[in-house]
Every structure is written in structure tokens, then in C-alpha cells.
Amino acid sequence: MLNRRNMIKQGTRMVAASMCATRPWLGVARAADGRETTTGPVEAGQWGTQPRTGGHVRAASTSGSLSDTLDPARQSMATDYLRGNMFYDGLVALDETLTPRPALAQSIESSDFQTWHIQLRSGVCFHDGAPLTSADVVYSILRHKDPALGSQVHYQAMAMHAVRADGPLGVVIELAAPNIAFPSVLGLTNFAIIRDGTTRFETANGTGPFTCAVFQPGVRSVALRNTNFWNPGGVWVDSLELISISDDMARHNALLSGDVDIIAAVDPRLVALVRKRNIAVMESPTGTYTNLAIRQDVGPGENADFVQAMKLLFNREQMRNSIYLGFCRAGNDQPLPPEHRFCNTDLPQTVYDPDKARFLLKKNGFLNQSLPPLICSPAANGSVEMAVLLQNAAQNIGLRLDVRRMPADGYWSQSWMRFPMGFGNVNPRASADMTFALSFASTAPWNEAHWRDPRFDQLLVLSRQEPDETRRHALYNDMQAMIHAGSGVCIPSFITSLDGFHPRIQGLHPHQGGQLMGYNFARHIWVNDQPASAKTGGQ
């Protein structure tokens, strides 16, 4: 059995090894010699393979409004995450496979998975010069428990029974119940560490790779490289401006004209056009999905055959080709994408089978019944198109389904989870455990289908205490099989995230956590300008 005490510590060595293997730009020479060696004169042929400091980058994300915030607790949109990750660090960082790696925490240990001992990295400073101490961490975590703050992770924070300092660099977190997957929770962007006592967020005072020079909600933010950053190989560009252009055409035009170097969320329809102009489009296999949730406590979803028939009516192939133009992966009515390290790949794939669906519906007398409408909205990516395809498939077997399209404005508060059949959109969670606990457990606040299976809840509790990863994987497999077979959540596909960038930007690589390297691109990129201009930039 693996000794949990050393698990994350081993992770440190593992991460160093894997970085050498997959990302030569974080090579050993660099780690040994420090920053200066890489910024010296470099032969032209080496540009692009070797990271270097310097340069200014402009990036445009999708959503931005006056709700933009530098308060980690309230960050809820992609732009907020992208910005937050420039200025703040978490105790833990999630790598491209969503495996937790040490960040501000040097080690996280627990013998019973209920009381966790965190040892902070020493010598880390906030942007204002103050050293990072356990008091900052305790403050940063406990504030999420205040309901008046409006924290995005209030629910997760409430699972932490007590958070207390243990010496200047030690923190102890006691959970309400054991959870071996707890380190992933600390990897959530919202649990970023701020200075003890911070209540105002006009600017950011974090420990992150950039300092905040400008922050204008809904307009732009400018980040400058933190020369005092604790991780010597962790930041390259001198300055980075982040704007948000919600208008799709305008965002693509800004990329094509060279006004910005990077954009998030390339339209699948424009990928070919963008690539033709020598602009790269990165495909990230994220676990984001748009799903139909058929409530199982009210309406037709109370009948298991109806739920099964609806899953069979999803023409996944057609949806993949016509809605996402191929930029998605098949979903199998369970929430972990095929690339996830805990995905159950042995489950039989649900396929489009109108005959079987018709049989099931007819057997239960649904064909002549009037059914509640399918609620969809542009707020849930691709749901309107999915609803129409589903309606069409139903029509072909004599089932009448109405589609009701709701405005994007207010969809999540007014329509989502409020109708017998409605679409939702879920971003990848930090861990398989969080996916199950937040969206599928009987008491989960976001249990969209109101699916209740006590065996599933038992397996969840068991998996949280199972230190052996193989055995935990087996438990997760069973849980996915139960969701696949029983839950009213239909997941036809996982959406591939598309980000566009000019060839001068280097260091970007796909990440399962979301767009632009799990919203954390800023610290990984470097600029590959023409050597002539680059020499003046890299001091």
C-alpha cells in the first residue's frame, strides 16, 4: 500500500521528471544555473525551443463585464480565472491531467485523510513584500465560509471543519469527513491565497508570477512580471495585457489583424480559416459537457425506460459533426471524459437506436402523451442545436417533443434545474471525486436529475477513504457505470476547447482543466520574436 504521507512529496519529484520529459524548456541546465543562462544570446536556430524572458503579450478572452473581480472568492467567469492565475497562487496546482501538484504548499499530508497537515514553502513573498505565513492561508480559506461574501466555493469550504495555523509555515485543515481527494479541492482557482485581512480588491496582492499594474473591470488588466517570484522557472513574459471581447467576430478579427496574440474560444466554424492564415489553434480535451437533465423525481423521468429511451435518441455522431464540427469527443452518459485518468473505458457506448427507443416509449405509453418541453438556451453551449436534433429524432419515431428556448440572460438562476427536462453546461471539476460529490450524490446541490441511489453514496464515501489508487479507480468505475445506467443526465459529448494564437507565442499546450491551459497560460508562455528585436527585449 502506498504511504500517503509521502504521496505529494513524491509528486514534487515526479513533476520535475515529467517536465523534463514533456517540456524540454524547463530543462535541467536551467534549473541548475538559474534565470540568466537562458536569457543570454541564443542562436537563431534555437528560437522556439528554448524559453526566454521578455516580451509583451496581448490576450483576449470571451466574457468580461463589470462583475470582473480580483477577489478569488467571487471569480466565476473564464476571464476572472485567467486574470486570477496571473496574480495569485494556490496551495496546490492542477497539472494538465488534473493531478494535484505542490504549489505554495510544499507538502500536504494526512494519515486518516480527515486531518490534513500542510507545510508551506518558505521564502515566498506577496507583491507588497510581506512574507507568506500560515495566517494568510487560514484567512484565505476561512473567508469562503462567510455566506455574505458570496463565494463560489462556499459549499466546498463548509466541508472544512476547522482551519488553523500550526507554526508560521504550518496549517492544519480538519475535514468533516475523510476525503483522500481533498488536495484537488485546494487546487481550485477560487482557493487562491491572499494576504491576511485583505478586504478590498481594487488591485491584487498575491504571490503569483505577475503583479497587477492595471485592473479595469470589463475593460482590461495589465500584468507585469514579478521579479520576486518564488518559482524561478515559472514566468517568462515581461508584461501581459488581458482584455475580453465577447463579440465572436470582433475577437477573431482582433486575432487575425494582429491586435491580440492569443484568443480564447475559437469558433469551430472558423478554425480552418484561422489556420490558413498561419495562426495556430490549440485543441484541449477538456471535460466540459452540455447535458440534458431529465428530472427523476417529477414528470416522465420517474420512469426509467423513458430516461433510457431519451439517451438512445441522442444521435451523438450527428451532434459531433453538425454542432461542434468534430471538435468534441463522444460522451457516454457519465461525467468523466475519455482522457480522464479515472475514466471507465469499459462501459458499452450508448449509440443512437431509434427502434429500441420507440419500443421502450411505446411499451410505457409515452408516444401519445404530451410531454414537458425541452428547456434550452444559448447560455448552455450547443444546447439549442441539441434540443432541435433531439426533437427531430423523436418526431421520426412518433414522439412529440416541444423545444423551449430561454434567453441566456438569467438562465442559470431562473431556468436551470427548474424544469422536468432541461439542458445544463458543466465545466470540468478539479477531480473525479468533486464531479461525483457535486453533481451526482443524493445530497449534491447541483444534482440536476435529482437522481438518488444510496449505493452510489456509499461508494462515494468508500472511495474517499481508499488509499490504493487501483482500488479507488475500480470504485470510480462502478460509480460511472451506475450514472451511465441510472442517472437522468444525458451526456452526448465533451466539448474540445479551442484557443488561437500567433506563432510568436510559445509554450502553450493542451490542458484538461479548461481553455488556455486550464486558465493558467500566463505563467507558461514565452515570446519568440525575431532575434533582432528580441535581443533588445531580453535583458
Binding site: S65, L66, S67, T69, R74, S76, P147, A148, L149, G150, S151, Q152, V153, H154, Y155, E202, V214, Q216, P217, G218, V219, R220, I243, I245, S246, D247, M249, A250, N253, A254, L256, S257, G258, D259, V260, D409, G410, W412, S413, Q414, W416, P445, W446
Partner: protein
């Protein structure tokens, strides 16, 4: 009662009516925004909302008070010159609006400087040379630009001048303006796009008003008496068309403040129209109120100004 006193009375009446409209708009906007589904607490929490967390946040933002009470406290603040605090960002509304308003006024001002003389010249020339090739060409052109939606004009302009020709930046980034050159580059496309819409409209209206006056019998008499065309236009026609022209301009220009949200979003220009759209989306009522108040005040100011000009011009004529 003397003429001046009468004029003063008329102006006072107009200003009074404007104030009543303003109060009506403020009350109406508050209650309409309050009637929108969802509130700022739900909007802030988004998909992470649970009923407990929404209730707690609502309480801390004092959204659990009755609508009337919230309106009274906001209106009370307004009377003391306090526009309130944004529910989303906790900053004072005035500080949030201030910069955006300056940006909007700048864009509107530059557009006006270009659009008004151009529209007046085009309209007047078409009226003078009516039914000629020139008139028909102007008429066709203005009809075209008025009927094409501005997002199309803006997107096409970006496609041609920024993406294909690389002559102008695709975004009007106000923070990047450091020289006259970058100023012109940043503003040329937004101003041209807005210009298309209002020049077309104003030129057509100017022509209509001018033609109306030019075809009157007293202009014909002046022509018969041998007055030069320039003198007819400047001394006889212009004073008679000033009032309707000001009305046309007031309507077109009031659009430049609140109606330019598409241009703001296409060019990523941080103006006040997009601020208002944002604030409605996040249900930030104090901010919605202040923006509505500004738009309404600007509209009333312009139309009242046009009315006062009309009053003066009729008085001049009666005196003459």
C-alpha cells in the same frame, strides 16, 4: 407681457416638463429593473448558487428589503447628490460611470464634429440641386448606409482595413493612444461607422426640410426679384429651417450616447452604453439607474435645446 418675458416663460415650461420626464423615467426604470427575473445575488453566484448562499448574499446586499424601501433609500441618496454604490463591485457608481462617460462623450463629440457639417452640406446641396444626378446619387447612397445595420458596417470595415490591409487596428483601445497618429487610427473606424448611420439620416431630413422651404412661394418671389442663390439660402431659407434642423440633429445626436452599444462592443471601446448593458445583465440596479438617468438627461438636454432654438427663431421672425 413683453416678448422676452413670454420667451422666458416658455423656456421655463420646457425645463419643467423635462424634469417631470426625468423623474418619471427614473421611477419607471427602477421598477422595471426590479421586475426582471433574478437579482444581483443570483447573478453573482451564477451556477454556484445554492438557496442558502443566495439568501445570505441577498441579506448582506439588503436585497431582502421591500422594493419601495430600496427605491426610497436610493432616491434619498440621489437628492443629496449620492448616486449610490454598485452592488457588484462595491465601488461608488459615480467613479465607475465617470471614466466611461468621458470616453462616450469623446466618441460622440468627434462623430458630431464630422457628421453634422457633412450631413448639412450634403442635405443642402441635394436640396439646391434637387432632381439632378447629384441629388439622386446622394439619395441612393444615404438610403444605403441608413439601411445597412451598423454591426455589418463595423465588421466589414474591420475585415477590410484591419484584417486584410493591416492599415488600422481592429480594436479602438483607448489606453494605447499616445500620439495623434494612434488617435486617428483608433477613432477612424468607430467614427466612420457611427457617421454612416447619422449622416445618412440627418442628410435626408435636411434635404426634406430644405426642399419644403425652397419650393415655397416666397422663395420663388425672391428668385423672381433677382436675389442671388447664396443670399436666398443664407438670408432667407436658413433662418426658417434652423428649428426643424436642430430637432433632427438633437434626435440623431442623442443616439450617440446610449445607442452605440454595438459599435462599442465590436471595437472594444469602453463607453457608457456597454456599461449599462453589463449592469442590466448583472442586475446592478444603482448602476442601471445612473446610466438611465444620464441617457435620459442627455436626451432631454438636446431636445430642450432644440425647442429653445425653435422658440428663439420664431421670435426673431415675428419681430422681423
Amino acid at each position: 407681457m413683453t416678448m422676452t418675458a413670454k420667451l422666458g416663460m416658455a423656456i421655463a415650461r420646457r425645463l419643467g416638463a423635462s424634469c417631470v420626464s426625468l423623474i418619471f423615467v427614473v421611477v419607471a426604470v427602477f421598477f422595471i429593473t426590479s421586475a426582471l427575473p433574478g437579482d444581483v445575488a443570483q447573478s453573482l453566484l451564477g451556477q454556484a448558487a445554492t438557496s442558502d448562499s443566495v439568501a445570505a448574499l441577498r441579506h448582506s446586499l439588503r436585497l431582502d428589503q421591500p422594493v419601495i424601501l430600496r427605491f426610497a433609500s436610493w432616491a434619498g441618496g440621489l437628492l443629496r447628490g449620492d448616486f449610490g454604490v454598485s452592488l457588484v463591485s462595491h465601488q461608488s457608481v459615480m467613479s465607475m460611470v465617470h471614466e466611461r462617460l468621458i470616453h462616450s462623450l469623446l466618441l460622440a463629440g468627434i462623430t458630431t464634429l464630422f457628421a453634422v457639417p457633412m450631413a448639412l452640406a450634403l442635405g443642402t446641396l441635394s436640396a439646391i440641386f434637387r432632381n439632378t444626378i447629384f441629388d439622386r446619387a446622394v439619395s441612393l447612397l444615404t438610403l444605403c448606409v441608413v439601411s445597412v445595420p451598423e454591426f455589418l458596417v463595423a465588421t466589414l470595415a474591420v475585415l477590410v482595413f484591419a484584417v486584410q490591409l493591416h492599415l488600422l487596428p481592429a480594436l479602438a483601445s483607448i489606453s494605447d493612444i499616445h500620439s495623434i497618429g494612434s488617435f486617428l487610427a483608433a477613432f477612424s473606424m468607430p467614427v466612420a461607422t457611427l457617421g454612416c448611420v447619422i449622416v445618412g439620416q440627418m442628410a435626408r431630413m435636411t434635404r426634406a426640410v430644405m426642399v419644403n422651404v425652397l419650393s415655397s412661394s416666397w422663395v420663388e418671389m425672391a428668385v423672381l426679384k433677382g436675389v442671388s442663390p447664396t443670399a436666398i439660402i443664407l438670408r432667407h431659407v436658413l433662418p426658417n429651417v434652423i428649428a426643424p434642423l436642430f430637432n433632427v440633429m438633437a434626435l440623431s445626436l442623442s443616439y450617440l450616447l446610449g445607442g452605440v452599444v454595438i459599435v462599442e462592443s465590436v471595437f472594444h471601446y469602453p463607453g457608457i452604453a456597454s456599461l449599462m448593458v453589463d449592469s442590466v445583465a448583472s442586475r446592478d440596479i444603482p448602476l442601471v439607474q445612473t446610466c438611465a438617468l444620464i441617457f435620459c438627461a442627455a436626451y432631454l438636454l438636446l431636445t430642450t435645446l432644440a425647442d429653445i432654438v425653435a422658440l428663439f427663431s420664431t421670435q426673431e421672425r415675428t419681430r422681423a
